[in-house]
Amino acid sequence: MTTADAAPAAPLTTTPFVGVDVASGRAKKKLTSRWASLVAVIIAVLWTIPTFGLAISSIRPQGDIQDSGWWSFFSNPHVTLDNYRAVLSSTGTGGLGSYFLNSFIIVIPSVIIPIALAALAAYAFAWIDFKGRNLLFICIFALQIVPIQVTLIPLLTLYVDSGIGGSFWAIWISHSIFALPLAIFLLHNFMKEIPKELIEAARMDGARHVQIFFRVMMPLLTPALAAIGIFQFLWVWNDLLVALTFSGGTSDIAPITVALANLSGTQGTAWHLLSAGAFISIAVPIVVFLSLQRYFVRGLLAGGLKG
């Protein structure tokens, strides 16, 4: 969660309405200098090397992987798709197929539920005046401090007592619980930035809260919702701890991360399959990220002035 904490906060909490041109112009000037570009390229290359090595490893034959590092691929190139075949086949060592489906079943409600709830809650905190609003908001914000590890056993006990232990519900609800404090906080900050005049104008036209929320807020919020959606998606997709604890590891509901953890075998003898498994697992987040990344840019530049 740490990356998710830091990254979106910056674009979302800046004030894009006052002097947006000046600020972005200055930023543009600084960021497009030749040296900055060079540093950016170097960082990008350095950070991509491990992933690149993983990609190379995944297409090398078992013997090569176990004997030598991925860089020796260039002097001794052997390409095979056996690793991918072994990982995907249900009869072979792993069989990631059904776990892949489980991951989707887990991730979609685990993104939609917290974002829907957080948007409503954030609206209430930002634009509805009620007693104890600030105190309640601080309490929710403070919930982020609770480490999820300490909640695992008590939560599982609650699920078991209420009869939903070991079902998808347990995982969906847990991910929603863990996502809500940050999502409410971020969306609240974003909604607060929307000019009061816009809301007042809508009220003058006779709009109630429900209409303001759906007709005025939602279109403006799209970039923020997309940003939070991406982070929640990545977090849930890559999560092992929550899924493992609440699914109990059964193949009916366990996600792909659980299968990946078991892929190398009891004695770890099949570790050559890990790189292929990892690549299959990250394919989906990459697609989601690339298809939604324009919202980041929109969130950064357009802000609340759109529409």
């Binding site: 060592t93 792993g94 489906l101 079943i105 979609i108 409600p109 939609i112 695992l152 056993i153 599982l156 006990t157 699920y159 078991v160 007592d161 232990g165 070991g166 079902s167 998808f168 939602m218 279109p219 493992l244 604890t245 109990g248 590891g249 059964t250 193949s251 009916d252 509901i253 366990a254 659980v258 953890a261 078991n262 892929l263 075998g265 009891t266 004695q267 003898t269 099949a270």
Partner: protein, 450 residues
């Protein structure tokens, strides 16, 4: 307007995904099995009709052994109508504790350590074994094994598979060429080592490197020597810390290990001097035997998988192992590991399945399956039907021996601060020069108080 349309699309998408989710969840429940009563099921009538019943088994055994394990369950399912639903997950050891504490443990957990078994029983959720299971275990297993499946005198968990650590790898070809015979006592082993050392060859080779677990092969050595010098009762006292780690018995046991591993005439064949033991990976420790640079390597039966492809592991092949002999030929202490089937639900099908796994039928099925799941300490197992390797046959033979006294790997049963920390680290320092006295003193000092 476009916003409205896209919102409708989003709702439709959400709705369809939720429907899909529900459909998939519904498909999860499998169809009911019925019991078969053919002649092949004669041995299974004692378990009765369990049609429609399900037993959930949780284990840390994953690929490729999980398939072998599942295969041994098929006749039981076929003949009783029960469904055995396995969950195979490497994080078993932490997850099973979480589940037991939260109140949704599996029906049966396959527990590989006596320490974990005790922790699980302490949660209060475990169910003692039924009278039938206990009778089956009394019939097929030695009292040592039954004791490891018991907590505070109550018998809970029948044993499943077993592994054996008290083995010395050697080259049968070298023995044949030089006219050596397999030693049957510890003294004979030392005499033979001296004889080989006199020819200018270093007889022993070893490696203890294993990442952060570096040192563990020495703990096995010391456990083996503790058993051989002082017998199982002193061994138990040592593991349970009823005698201090630096008392005379363990000190003598470590000195006995030193007679082999810190003896510059004995080690490190084909690898270097004594200190090279610490820097050699345990996987590579025995490989010099193949090149003829070393004669003996003490390591568990799983080492069979470490020989390069094309090596024949058999009594007349390139390499094989003999039982690390006891003080006398009649003493047969065996150091090893095993798994226990701990039940958490008091139901006929759960007890029936536990009884089945303790039966000779199951042990024979496992032996037929071969691979890493073949060996058990079950005296009723039909070893002649075993498709297992020669080394598995040897392990079977030693474990089934009525004279064999089985003891669990002691470092697994010690507190983690010792068993998986100071014991490894201090013995590693010991091999690189630290004195025996300092070593046992330091390990004793690290034992958790209270």
């Amino acid at each position: 307007m476009t916003a409205l349309a896209s919102r409708h699309r989003a709702f439709a998408l959400t709705a369809s995904l939720l429907t899909l989710t529900l459909a998939v969840t519904a498909c999860g429940s499998s169809s009911k099995k019925t019991r078969s009563t053919g002649p092949e099921c004669a041995a299974y009538t004692q378990y009765g009709d369990l049609s429609g019943k399900t037993v959930k088994v949780f284990t840390g055994i994953v690929t490729p052994e999980d398939a072998l394990l599942k295969k041994t369950w098929v006749p039981f399912e076929h003949c009783t109508g029960a469904t055995i639903k396995g969950t195979f997950d490497k994080s078993f050891e932490t997850q099973v504790l979480v589940q037991a504490k939260a109140g949704n443990p599996p029906d049966i957990a396959i527990v590989p350590q006596p320490g974990l078994l005790q922790q699980l029983v302490a949660t209060g959720k475990a169910v003692p074994a039924s009278a039938e299971t206990t009778a089956m275990v009394d019939k097929n297993f030695s009292t040592d094994w039954k004791a490891y499946g018991s907590v505070n005198g109550t018998f809970y968990a029948p044993p499943q598979n077993a592994s054996m650590k008290s083995l010395v790898w050697y080259s049968p070809k070298e023995f044949k060429d030089k006219g050596y015979t397999v030693p049957t006592t510890l003294d004979e082993l030392i005499t033979l080592s001296d004889k080989i050392a006199a020819t200018g060859k270093k007889p022993w080779c070893a490696g203890i490197g294993s990442g952060e677990a570096t040192g563990w092969p020495i703990t096995d050595w010391m456990e083996d020597m503790m058993l051989r010098l002082w017998g199982p009762d002193e061994y138990d006292k040592w593991v349970q810390h009823k005698i201090a780690f630096n008392s005379p018995e363990p000190t003598a046991a470590l000195d006995e290990v030193g007679k082999f591993l810190k003896n510059s005439k004995y080690v490190n064949g084909g690898l270097g001097n004594v200190k090279s033991i610490a820097t050699t990976a345990f996987q590579d420790g025995g490989l010099p035997i193949l090149k003829g640079n070393c004669s003996f390597h003490r390591q568990a039966s799983f080492y069979a998988a470490n020989w390069p492809a094309g090596t024949t592991v058999s009594p007349d092949g390139d390499v094989f192992a003999f039982y690390l002999p006891g003080k006398t030929a009649a003493d047969k202490p065996v150091l090893g590991g095993g798994e226990f089937m701990l039940g958490f639900r008091d139901a006929p099908e759960v007890h029936a399945f536990q009884t089945f796994v303790a039966s000779g039928e199951w042990a024979t099925l496992a032996a037929q399956g071969g691979g890493g799941r073949a060996v058990s300490a079950n005296k009723a197992a039909d070893v002649s039907k075993c498709t297992c390797s020669e080394i598995d046959k040897l392990a079977f033979q030693v474990l089934q021996d009525p004279k064999a006294i089985f003891r669990f790997d002691g470092s697994d049963a010690m507190p983690a601060a010792v068993g998986s920390n100071s014991f490894w680290k201090q013995t590693t320092s010991w091999i690189t020069g630290q004195s025996t006295k300092t070593t046992v003193d330091k390990i004793e000092a690290s034992w958790p108080k209270g």
